[in-house]
């Protein structure tokens, strides 16, 4: 491994702490499980349960340790360097594929204005992979308008590929092959990304300061959410996200992550290290690499380049899914991409931490299947347990009542729930102490939001468990989910939509509850927290997609809209008016009508 990528002492300490914490929690949970199971004899099924609870608890504890390591008091502050002259040749890349051109190009107009205001010189290249001809015409129309308004001729470009080989990674690669030598640095954005000129200026300065830095990732804040689900996600990303990311940054050191967008790369490093091959065999495990960003981060590290994440860089934004279905659809793609990483665990020359990151990516989805397996194994173990023997010895006068395992099971449940809740409460405590809650509407509003988010995620957890489990089983059975187009602004879902997409969850929940009720009614109460939300899946899917006022889940960007976001809304509103009056009004099939500026 390259010496400058070797973890420093604090990074090694963080890793050791997180691993120790996870192992201790997992061992404790599996010992409790084994002790509870051994009351009526320890069988093979009990061994499987102990192993499953070991793995699932280790994963939960690992997540919790990120929050604890990233706690505000532990933050290491660094001064942001200033831009040096002459400025490096920089391009802002925006790969798009079947996106709403109005909002996409309005964002570019806002970024362009903000970049100019920050004194940064950068080209902008819109890299279209849009397949539909009519949609592509609308993109060109929007591009022409963008040039007219910004005077961006010769500075802002639009090119469309005729073949979208390699999807997004291939799109970026195609740009570097054709135009890479013209630039030193490339800021990679998504179609729904917004980034302030100040953020881009800071990123360029950081790349100038450290010539071994190959990629710098920012933490994008989610903006523009309107539904209950979207706003809860937006709040969690804004409130908890920075702390978790700080923990991640401290733990990953110079072999950090790439999340595919809202990051800056050194073009020479990327071109020399990140030419992705097509994997042998067919999808889902072969073919193009879906979750390419993590692989590119690993390859940069393999090439000796530092990859860092800095959640302290403000002015980086994206939009998130606005309902459960959009979220699950995105997760299906990520699941396939992450399971594909199993092919790369033994790739030659990777840093051991990169391999560990691949393992984490796989675990993120497989763990739901393990939870489901644990529930099934626990049910089977209970119903197949031998009946209690009150007179174990011959000629015994008084019966011997067997010890119940309620104490161990209750401790286990509290432990698991604690691993989920304590990190969030710790973050809340830290935010109150540092007065960070002011940006989230004050102590009472932020506390209510944290508690409401916990309740909501608890209700939706069984649905997510089934969505993840289904995705894992689909991938393992060889079903390729492809790369469905983003459906941004999909928004409101009715009960009929909820029923259509959630009836299989109702069926699973009803079957599980009925089976348990008939065979082992004593167990029913333990299954209700999982089974009831499954029965209510259609309602939950529809209800959480409904619009929510700004009273709950308030975030700083709603209290004071950042200038680049305000400019975006202003451009959007202006373009929408004239767009509709234009003879070439591109409304058909696009999500323009869904767009409501906040």
């Amino acid at each position: 491994m390259h010496s400058h990528l070797s973890p420093d002492r604090p990074t090694r300490l963080c890793r050791l702490l997180a691993l120790s914490f996870s192992l201790i929690a997992a061992i404790t949970a599996s010992l409790l499980m084994a002790e509870a199971a051994a009351r009526d004899g320890f069988g093979a099924l009990d061994g499987a349960r102990a192993a499953l609870i070991f793995l699932t608890t280790a994963w939960l504890a690992w997540g919790a340790s990120l929050a604890l390591i990233g706690a505000p008091g532990l933050q290491r502050r660094r001064a942001q360097p200033d831009l040096r002259m002459p400025q490096p040749r920089t391009v802002i890349l925006i790969p798009i594929c079947n996106e709403d051109p109005l909002t996409t190009f309005a964002r570019i107009a806002a970024i362009d204005a903000s970049v100019a205001e920050a004194g940064v010189t950068a080209d902008i290249a819109v890299l279209s992979d849009t397949r539909d001809e009519a949609a592509a015409r609308r993109e060109r129309f929007a591009f022409a308008r963008l040039l007219r308004e910004t005077g961006g001729e010769g500075r802002i470009f639009y090119r469309r590929r005729t073949q979208n080989v390699g999807r997004k990674a291939g799109n970026i690669e195609d740009f570097f092959r054709r135009s890479g030598s013209a630039y030193d640095l490339a800021v990679i954005l998504d179609a729904d990304s917004l980034m302030s000129g100040e953020a881009i200026r800071t990123m360029i300065a950081r790349m100038q300061e450290d010539p071994k830095l190959g990629l710098l990732q920012t933490l994008p804040r989610i903006i523009g959410a309107r539904s209950l689900f979207g706003r809860a996600l937006q709040f969690a990303a804004g409130f908890h996200g920075p702390v978790f990311s700080r923990g991640l940054a401290r733990m990953q050191g110079a072999t950090g992550p790439f999340w595919g967008h809202n990051a800056i790369v050194r073009v020479r490093a990327f071109a020399g290290s990140c030419g992705l091959p097509e994997l042998s065999g067919k999808p889902p495990f072969g073919g193009h690499i879906l979750s390419h960003d993590y692989v590119e981060a690993a390859l940069l590290a393999r090439g000796g380049w530092k990859v860092e994440v800095d959640p302290s860089i403000a002015g980086s934004y994206e939009e998130g899914p606005d309902n459960v279905l959009s979220f699950a659809r995105r997760d299906r793609r990520w699941c396939q991409g992450n399971l594909q990483h199993s092919r790369l665990l033994l790739a030659p020359g990777l840093a051991s931490w990169s391999r560990f990151v691949f393992l984490q990516n796989i675990a993120a989805y497989v763990v739901s299947t393990l939870w489901a397996a644990f529930l099934v194994a626990s049910f089977v173990a209970t119903v197949t347990a031998p009946p209690p023997n009150y007179f174990p010895e011959a000629h015994q006068l008084y019966p011997v009542f067997p010890n119940t395992s309620t104490r161990e099971i209750t401790m286990l449940v509290f432990g698991v729930v604690g691993l989920l809740i304590i990190p969030k409460l710790t973050i809340l405590t830290g935010a109150i102490a540092s007065n960070r809650v002011q940006g989230f509407g004050g102590v009472i509003r932020a506390t209510s939001s944290v508690l409401a988010e916990i309740v909501l995620t608890t209700l939706l957890a069984p649905l997510m468990l089934l969505y993840h489990s289904r995705a894992v089983l689909q991938v393992l059975s060889g079903q390729d989910g492809g790369w469905p187009a983003n459906q941004r602004g999909e928004g409101l879902l009715g009960l009929a939509d909820g029923w259509r997409s959630g009836r299989w969850i109702v069926l699973v929940g009803a079957t599980a509850l009925t089976t348990v009720y008939w065979i082992a009614p004593d167990l029913l109460i333990w299954l209700l927290p999982v089974g009831l939300p499954m029965l209510a899946a259609p309602f939950l899917i529809a209800w959480t997609s409904r619009p929510l006022t700004h009273a709950l889940f308030r975030v700083p960007e709603e209290i004071a809209s950042p200038p680049v976001v305000a400019t975006y809304h202003e451009v959007c509103a202006r373009w929408e008016m004239t767009w509709k009056n234009s003879p070439a009004e591109p409304s058909a099939g696009m999500a323009v009508e869904h767009h409501v500026p906040a």
């Binding site: 001809e133 022409a144 135009s179 290290s273 091959p277 009004e585 409304s587």
Partner: protein
């Protein structure tokens, strides 16, 4: 398909008639850069494993 946006509408929308705009540039500058294809898959096969096994056994015999 959006039939309302035909080629003429699109040409009308272009800012080509603006003074001194010249021909519209769509593509970024041509400046090729080689992207090095990376090796990610190990070529370990059953035959390789059998070879390692045979070597191990022959060493033990010796």
């Amino acid at each position: 398909m959006d039939q309302r946006l035909n080629a003429k509408d699109f040409e009308d929308a272009l800012p080509c008639d603006a003074p001194d705009s010249g021909p519209l540039r769509w593509a970024p500058p041509e400046a090729p850069l080689a992207m090095q294809k990376q090796v990610l898959e190990t070529r370990t096969s059953w035959a390789d494993l059998a070879l390692v096994g045979r070597l191990f056994l022959s060493r033990r015999k010796a």
